[in-house]
Symmetry: none
DNA sequence: CATGAATGAGGCTTCATTCAT
DNA sequence: CATGAATGAAGCCTCATTCAT
């Protein structure tokens, strides 16, 4: 998933450059926002601007690659917790960790939002990877009675994105998570018409 | 508060144009994001580019004016509910309405985030206006036992921003609000270590 | 000479406004250079921008009016010295005074340069007025043997512009005048090929 | 000194383009004044506007480069005459040549004025280079008795700027130089109070 | 007449993208 | 493949000038 779109395999040094660019882009976009220039990325990566465009023919494609990489990493983290002994801790712990990462890397929020919205062609694979892995954690937590039964992975993704956004803007706040987690645990009584517009 | 920075009052036509520009900016920024061009705004408003800059000498000032206007409107909405007979409905209803507006106007999310982060000089007045009005709704709902006692206006603002973001990206989702609202209502038992990183 | 181009006489208040604008322009252009905006002039004059353009339909025309006014003033000064008892002191004193004024008002330099170059339609009248008045001082100084006989008013105007420029840029410098004045007094011997290129 | 600010040497073609831009700027600024647009320069140079800004990131930096180049060229000319057999001819000849160049290139006048005013950081190096080289010519001419002893390089620079200005506006005039040169040669008698204001 | 709001051409600068070296 | 120079569209902003109030 970290290989280029074209079929041909890359030479070792090319692959190294690709990785350098991706890492630089991740950092630059995280720190200075996604409107940073590609030149900035190239500089940070220590390569020429041409190299950036050789590997990622478009700024958008570079941004997407960053998001995909982030999502893949998160998906991997989630997958590791799949068989944790404490499903509740696994689920909530993962959720917390993502949000606290998002506090410093705003790209994460975007990645989550993208992934949450659509299982489109673009981030599709990666996004659904995370959704699936998160789904497993969710399901196990639900079976253990730690999370209410009437929520699905899609809602969790959206909630994750929302909390990450709040954390990115207002700072990582445990208080927000407390509310969200209580909401996720609560066994709702009869519908009290919460969301009337 | 929607009048220009300079002391003198504007001529009727100038005021009309200012309003047109502001409305256009609100729409453009809502639909296409805050990085839309000022030319776009001028076109939408049906005025020359010079007129935009006469009223808002900087793109940033225009953006700020939009955010301030949004926040003021929300604050006014909240203020109207101040003495509602049903404090719980007032609070949750307001929350819902904001989020559903944010679903189409992403500028709202930004406004909330700005307002939530800082009560700085810039959006300061308006932001704190909303925070204050919302604080009243919150307090009354808490007194009525509809909202847990251990949250303050700051958390609500952050939560509002987060939910709005999610709604703006993933669509207005009642399911998310349900979770959040249950979290807000729940009387937390012993700390179950929810937010461990 | 300070009346508008059009034939009709102005109302008293209009005339007053014209004078205010002219004075403001003189000061603004002197201090901040001729690329200052007309708005700046209007502000300084305490009138609306429309008033500036009513009296001077073009920025260029305003600038020209400023230059003309300066030249007229200088011409008047020169004229007053016409019958001075000491022709040498009159001539050199006038020269010095102009240059020292130019040190703070760069518009003077421009005015002199314009006047020196051409007796065109534009500054023509005023420029030739100064040239003529200065010519009288020069002639009398030459008759008194204080200035060499082989220079004419045109040269003096050009020299004045050059010295004014130097003074405006490098500060009023008596040393430069000393050189120039010695050059003007000297009775040249046989041509020593001074200006070989 | 005509190389770019950054340390690295430029590729051959880049250097060629830089030179083209500089030459174009010199001509454009000479003919139409330093307020000509950078687009004009780009057009004249036959390159894209982006290329101009790649080499000179600011209009001001471009202007400065032009002035520095001019001053360097003049300094080099002066340096060549350092050991001329006829110090008087060397000094006055150089002076004449500069002024006659200024007649067509008004940028020279500005360069001289800048250099004369300040030996600041900006044009500093180049400006002082010319001042120094000119100082040598002056000293030798003074030792040969061709120039009065009571003037220094600073005065010469200012005089040069003033004469250049006059030449640029009123045309190259040998008559002005004659006066200035006679002033520079004259052995002043008792102070006749030349520069009284 | 005076005012100042409206206009839009034009200036400077940035940056994604292309292409010669 | 890597490099970085070249490109030009597009963005922000200024300002001389016009015109409705």
């Amino acid at each position: 998933m970290t290989s280029p779109a074209s079929g041909r395999p890359l030479r070792a040094d090319a692959l190294r450059n690709r990785a350098k660019v991706l890492a630089a882009a991740e950092e630059v976009f995280a720190v200075q926002g996604t409107s940073s220039s590609t030149e900035e990325v190239a500089r940070k990566a220590g390569v020429g601007i041409g190299t950036v465009f050789r590997h990622f023919p478009t700024k958008e494609s570079l941004l997407e690659a960053v998001l995909v990489a982030l999502l893949e990493r998160l998906a991997a983290e989630a997958a590791e917790l799949r068989s944790s002994a404490d499903p509740g801790a696994a689920f909530f712990g993962f959720f917390s960790r993502v949000v606290s990462q998002a506090a410093t890397k705003q790209a994460i929020t975007e990645a989550l939002a993208e992934a949450g919205i659509d299982a489109r062609e673009t981030t599709g694979g990666a996004g659904s990877g995370l959704t699936a892995a998160l789904g497993v954690l969710l399901e196990r937590a639900q079976e253990a009675g730690e999370v209410r039964a009437d929520v699905g992975p899609g809602e969790i993704m959206a909630l994750l994105a929302g909390m990450s956004y709040a954390a990115a803007r207002a700072g990582a706040r445990e208080d927000l998570l407390r509310i969200a987690f209580d909401g996720l645990r609560s066994r709702p009584g009869p519908d009290r018409g919460a969301a009337r517009g």
